[in-house]
Amino acid sequence: MTTKQLCVALLSTTILGSAAMAEDVTLTIESWRNDDLTLWQDTIIPAFEAANPGIKVKFTPSAPAEYNAVLNSKLDAGSAGDLITCRPFDASLALYEAGHLADLSDLGGMANFSAVAKSAWQSDDASASFCVPMASVIHGFIYNKEAFAEVGVEVPTTEAEFFAALDAIKQDGNYIPMAMGTNDQWEAATMGYNNIGPNYWKGEEGRLALIAGEQKLTDAQWVAPYATLARWGSYLGDGYEAQTYPDSQNIFTLGRAAIYPAGSWEITGFNAQADFEMGAFKPPVQNAGDECYISDHTDIAMGLNAASPNAAAARVFLDWMGTAEFASIYANALPGFFSLSSHDVAMEDPLAQEFVSWRGACNSTIRSTYQILSRGTPNLENDTWGASVAAIKGTETPEALGAELQEGLASWYAPHM
């Protein structure tokens, strides 16, 4: 083909392409939730498109671990989609401050969310909201009901009962007591440290005191969870050091492990994979009767790419996300992602109901490292991953880990200097 022919061919495709564009506005959604692809394609998008003819929506997720890097590059290059799925706190705040996310404070649908729900996607003075909150995830433990019945252990409510149950399962030998690995590192921090931790640092009370500089990571309530994690090591499967996150999921859903330290986002996948009955229990408290705290983490929201050529259509979509219709579709299609809206959403999944029932019995908090404290270098969240792994493997003492993290935080965060 000569250059001339090539040029003609290229030009004609752009003309044809833009002609097709004129009929419908197509909105593209950037997301890290590649697990939800079918849900968006089969349920959410058809429901929206039926109500809003003329707007087409495309869901184009990337791998969770790469999402932030990929998104930042795309936004800088101007090739990102119209709608941006927002990580909570600083990652999205930075995008807003860099002018990549539009201010959505005036969006009608925003009225359906509480101040707490919006807090993860607001400027520090709460004057501007830039993402529509979608869902939170709750941490706890999912267990294999059949395994518990077979071994004859009860659902634990205190830490002593928890370790007694693990001992009994280990003794029995038919099941790996707990399915978790340290290869990917984040599970140890997210499903370990930040799962059991709130009971030690009393949820919001400790988290806010840490941000204010009144508590330190070397204090007993921040070090003790590492000491507890250190005891987990002997209950994980052989070779847990090289066990990845999907490995752990598979071990549990294949029925080879009894307990899975979980986030509620696992529910959908586990319901599809596991053919045994599952239950959930909240992080055990230290002494019977103690007040309980759970990590009810604002996790996911949706914002508008400030450079989007289809802003008007995108706002229609975001507005729709604030309706009861969306909340109901989303919460029921994705049990385990609990709606943050003030609509009363009825859920059918028993496991999801179990998780969400803890909101009534316990105090909710969010992950300790997410707000403000991971703004600098070294990054407290990433350091917590490494520290939690080291605690489980027993390569460092809990006190040493606390001291290291505190030193890192104090190196850049003024209230701790």
Binding site: N68, A69, T182, A242, Q243, T244, S374, E381, V389
Partner: protein
Amino acid sequence: MNGKRIKWHIVVFLAPAVLVYTAIMIFPLFNTLRLALYSEVDQVRVFTGLDNFRTLFGDPRWSESFWNALGNNFWFFLIHMLVQNPIGILLAAILSHPRLRFAALYRSAIFVPTILSFVIIGFAWKLILSPIWGIAPDMLDAIGLKFLYAPWLGKEEYALTTLALVSVWQFVGIPMMLIYAALLSIPEEVLEAGEIDGITGAAAFWKIKLPLILPSIGIISILTFVGNFNAFDLIYAAQGALAGPDFSTDILGTFMYRTFFGFQLQLGDPHMGSAIAAAMFGIILIGVCLYLFGIQTRMRRYQF
């Protein structure tokens, strides 16, 4: 007059290569070096001179990560030099044996992993070595050596060596092919002359062939050096950007990637990332120069 005429055809023939190379290699390289001298303050890019390098080498947190990555990189390189290249030479020597049957089959089979994607290699080896689904524990069990098995990729002390050996497995075909070609180019007469003097078999390899393929070994060493210090893909595919466990497999490439693009809650810092890239460039440049001026120029060449 004639001597001064511009030879346009040379310009025309060189242009495509020069333009493409400048656009996709030289310009980005110098732009990266330039970016390393800037920093971002309140969304504005400001010139800060060598501040990024001062942070990188002066701040104990940054410098610790940097020296850790550099040390790991040297270990990665050392394993390749000690394992990959000797095995490559050995395989080439065996392959060039005139009475070896199925030589072409072996040659292709050993070379095939080289053309596979890093992602496939990383994923396949992760599965092979997995303590849960892997065949490595079962294979060791079958020969009664189960006690030797450890979750290698998850242990700080083994992970980097394991990955280096996976990389050796993948790339051993390259030194093999280059040495094989060099061995084939040694004329029969030289070997026959040696035979008349009583030098045969292993002695012929050590005394005649090896000195003649030394220039090729030099080239392979420098290719290994550049390849290893630019390595990134395999570590990223197998261990992720955090290069776990506890940064024991972190090399300059993954350190640079993490800094440049950010990771999880850590936001990317293109300027510090560029500073690390510039340091990598410097290290590779020094290594290549040492080779070119220290070794290459002294190497003796033989004309047949």
